[in-house]
Amino acid sequence: MKFKKKISKNRFVQFFASIKLTVICLFLLYILTFWGTVAQIQYGLYQAQNQFFHSLFFLVFGFIPFPGAQLVMWVLFVNLICVALTRFIYYSWRQIGILIIHAGLLLFLISGYVTLHSSHESYLNLKEGQASNVSAAYHDWEIAIWESSPQEDPLVNKNHVTAFDVSGLKPDQVIPIKHLDLQLTVKKFYKNCEAYTGDQSNKILSASGIGRLEPTELLKEPEKNTPGGIFQFNINKNKVLDVILYGGEAKPFSFQGEGKTYNVILRLKRYPLPFTLKLVDFKKEEHPGTDMARTYQSLVEILMDHAKREKLISMNDPLRYTDYTFYQSSFSIDKMGNESSVLAVVKNRGRLLPYISTFVTFLGLVIHFVTMAIRSRKD
């Protein structure tokens, strides 16, 4: 009893337990939702999401700060806990509905936080017969380096890759890679640029004959930005090479040093998967006589060290494996008629939290409003 009383008299808790604060936060969230929806037309979903919903605050007209949804939800979280400490603990069993509702809402806020910070989405594009053990990010890029090693089967590529993200690169930044005896210096880096061939006057090397990079402004759809830069490779403090790397290149750049062949490429960030996935067959069915797809399915084979098994991934039936889920996202057919399937890969540790929260909150809502209805009938 003493602790209950003490905590409910605390000034900080009392301030944050105000229902008026709840109303303000809900109202702010309401405005943000509307604003963020309308802003999507101009800025695209990704940017609007980042600015309005994932951020803590953002600037209006350049200098007025406005809270972002993450901040509002943090305040709501604290508010809810404080209200629980000051009011809910005094509630009787008759008001159990309200308690359950708000417990569920608390779980929602928690699951939102967990999802935001520990889940990521990527994709996997495979032609029939191909297999891979990494998926690619949608718009994060990395520089990947590996050594060439002799392959018995020219179709099977196994490489030990060292990679780092390019999102925070600054000019003159030095990145040492000790285990490969390499040092990389960033000479220039652009988040979006165009590459031009044909200008070989400077002594910069490139895998695709690119001579020059022209930076351009960032586009609102992040997947349309192609980064590029000029990097200096210092091999064991002997050889120095200047290389242009561009995101639109298909082949890596190779160079020799210390008897080894290194390969470097600027590409979408790769996330390792828990197994190697092979696309055995892709099937698409249309509604008869139309062009509308009725269902698409990918028959994949999961190759692990000790076993392999097949699974049919279809529109409503994804492949689930621990934290990972593989969805049938889309497909393409190239000019030669080869079908490739695009799978969306989602890694989310907190996947089940929203389900639990939904159930709890709904239960609470039903109990609450049914008891209210019964009670008003009694009057």
């Binding site: 309401y30 929806t37 037309i41 999401q49 994804p318 996947r351």
Partner: protein
Amino acid sequence: MIRKVFSIQNIFMLLLLSSLIFPSRSYAQGMCPLDTLKPKKVGSLESFKRIPVLNQGRIKPLESYAQNLLLLFSGKTHYKKETAVEWLARFLFAPRTTFNDKIFLINSPEIAEALKIEPDKHRRYSYNQLSPGYDKLKELAEAISSIDEKNQSVVDKEILRVYSNVLLFLRLSGAFTFAVPHPDFYIESAETRALLNLDNDQTKFSFYNVLEKSEPLSQVAKTLETKEHLLWTDAEKDIGRILSALDFWSQHYSNCPLGLIPTQSPENEEWLSPMDTILGGFFDPAYKQEIKALRDMAVAYWDGSQLAFDINARMFSDSVSKRLSPTEKKITKKIPLELLYNQFNFLAWAKLFYALGFFIFLFSLTFKQKKLYQAAVAMTILGFIPHALALILRISILSRPPVSNLFETFVFVGLICVFLGCILEVVNKNWLGLVVANTCGFILLTIAGKYSAEGDTMQVLIAVLNSNFWLSTHVLAITIGYAGCCVAGIMGHIYILQLLAPKSDAKNSEITYKCMLGILGFGLTMTFLGTTLGGIWADQSWGRFWGWDPKENGALMIVLWCSIIFHSRIAKIINPLGAAVGCILALVNVMWAWFGVNLLSVGLHSYGFTSGIATTLGAYVVIELLFIAVSVIWLGKKNIKF
């Protein structure tokens, strides 16, 4: 397509020869002497209506197909005094009689000018009017289709639409040409007729007539192949002409999008047009029988013989039904239901009764009679029955919950609102529920009516939406939630009007207020459930529970707004009047989430329907805000606090 009709490959050689002898004529439309002929027509098309056709992925009766086709071309489901199916019969059997029908809707007069056509007051044009501008239309359409869809202007999109309509018209018009006599197959010389074993007292034959004589034809072709073509007799030259006509027809009239005849192979789910079936395998006994039945139907239509027409139509349907797969059979069994649905315009009746119920209520404000109350109850029930029937029929025809397109959501939400109104009335028995039921029913059905005029409301679903448990529960829950909030919104209006009334009854407004909050709570619960189910569905399908998508945001806004009302009440920031205003704004929110967000991607500038929605929505919001402002101020003078 492999031409199995001509079992001898040498026919190809012959046709090459014949094309040298007879230079290819331009078989342009409109040069036919058949222009002046008119069919006698048949009085009743009952048997014709029922014939199943596969179109846009769904098996439907010809009547529905006719309605959708005419709606697609002209925006209406009838042509002058003819019903859609009567027009379709005339179009299929005697296409040239429809070339002067003004059925092509062209919204923008600019397009008419570009095609050098006199702009018409009613914006509808006939094929003959469009025909001289056809080449220009084709050129424009091809140029536009290479532009990215986002950059196409409204007029560009209209041109594409008109072009695809005209193309469809042309291709469909050839569906039954095989059945009626055509100059290409007129055989004057008796000798030729004798060679082919054709009827000697006729000169006018159809493609079908000639096709039946493929045996003698191929024999003659064999001889012609070896004979030096300068030595051909007149009769043989005649036959050469017939052969080249057959070849031309098989190319020109194939690929017709009228799916009447299912294929024999079980994996192929497509249904072919008569001409395509002929080209694919005329000698299959089932196909042969069906083609003959179709042909006899066409002939009967021209001759005006009802009996022959009906017999052949039934024969055709029976033969087709025997060959269907079990799933297809199940769907065709639903055709009588669909015909029933088409026949009685259930929703119009429901609307009528709801309107009557509302008028009775208005009447009762001045005349207090008990009988009026009973009459109003009767009206509401009479409206509810066809309303529910329509939905039940739709569920059984389409085998899916009735919430797969906007039209259906309006009808469904309307039904739930009326249902909630009825429950309210049973509880309170003070006219409140009746008013709510009738108003909501009428308004929502009127809006639904506008959506049904846009096109086929019974379309198949794309891959993602097919038979998914989470999706159906999500849409059902959310629409029920919308219904709850709509009813609460209407009750907000009623509460304010009750307060504004000269003799305001405190007890009645108290009841209204309590019920309003109760229904709002129900609406909040169901909308919340629907929103979270949507998240679960999204997580099951794409791996993320919440993506801040416009539609998700719209639903979230409703949930947030309703919770704001409840929490403001607890925090004592607002009074009952404020809660009523909040409910009205909740209704505005529902409209925004329902179809306001759909307008965002389109933008506000497009022809006809969508721009209509945008302006109507805008006007509605302005009116509501004015209503709220005026009533709050007026009640403020009466000392009723917000």
